[in-house]
Symmetry: C2
Amino acid sequence: MQHTITTLVENRPGVLARVAGLFSRRGFNIESLAVSITEDPSVSRMTIVVTGDERSLEQISKQLNKLIEVIKVYDYTDVPNVERELALIKVHAEPTRRAEIMQITDIFRAKIIDLSERTLTIEVTGPVAKVDAMRSLLEPYGIKELVRTGKIVLARGARSAAEMRSNV
Amino acid sequence: MQHTITTLVENRPGVLARVAGLFSRRGFNIESLAVSITEDPSVSRMTIVVTGDERSLEQISKQLNKLIEVIKVYDYTDVPNVERELALIKVHAEPTRRAEIMQITDIFRAKIIDLSERTLTIEVTGPVAKVDAMRSLLEPYGIKELVRTGKIVLARGARSAAEMRSNV
């Protein structure tokens, strides 16, 4: 099963390597990861998407919680949340195909942010499934390059992760 | 100096831990990191933002290039590029303050994606500096929770990272 785990950690060298090491030692492949600073610059937030069985994930969460730099581990999988991802897609677009691609871009409320004689670069933001759908629709034109941020997530409602009761 | 480095790697367990380990062993703190799959599902793409002196970064790049799972390392710092970041910001918003926050959201072409009696959650996408500016403007209201994806980047024009001549 796929899980979306948020880890709040102290913003220090080495923390990312330790967290990534915990997952790799158990053979988990991290599907996506987004790490950046938070509302408190001394704290970084990692959003980790990983697939695995419940038991192994539970053990990883326990080990994460034991790391001194880890402030909180929270699993958003079963919590009402808003998820978003951003992608930049460079797609083959001869001038005669541009109009079609611009239609797709409009329908997805995406944006064209760069243009060359043979390519368009598109910015799309939305739930992961929307980014996947956009990608599928652009594939027939030839995707030249694709970069995605990985999923980020916040709980619906007023509470922050720091205020939520630990669920892992 | 701040650098934005893209690393194309084989999509396998353990690669992230090795890459993160290289940076941490030299005492570099990764400021942001986004990792996800690419147009080729067997390849992951890491966008790493890191500050450090040229000499140490050059050594890290050389060591990255030696890792068997690393396909390409490319430094976008001096290359014309499009950069984007996505953030979700949960901000304190009593009903009487909502209108003001909605104005800021409109001006930044951001979106309100969740609402509670006391908070609003805003999605904002743009260059890193735009996300920083939005954050500063919302700070007086009280930022309750903030998650950012970290920067992602593509070169302007038709070429992909795989086609570009190595610059590190």
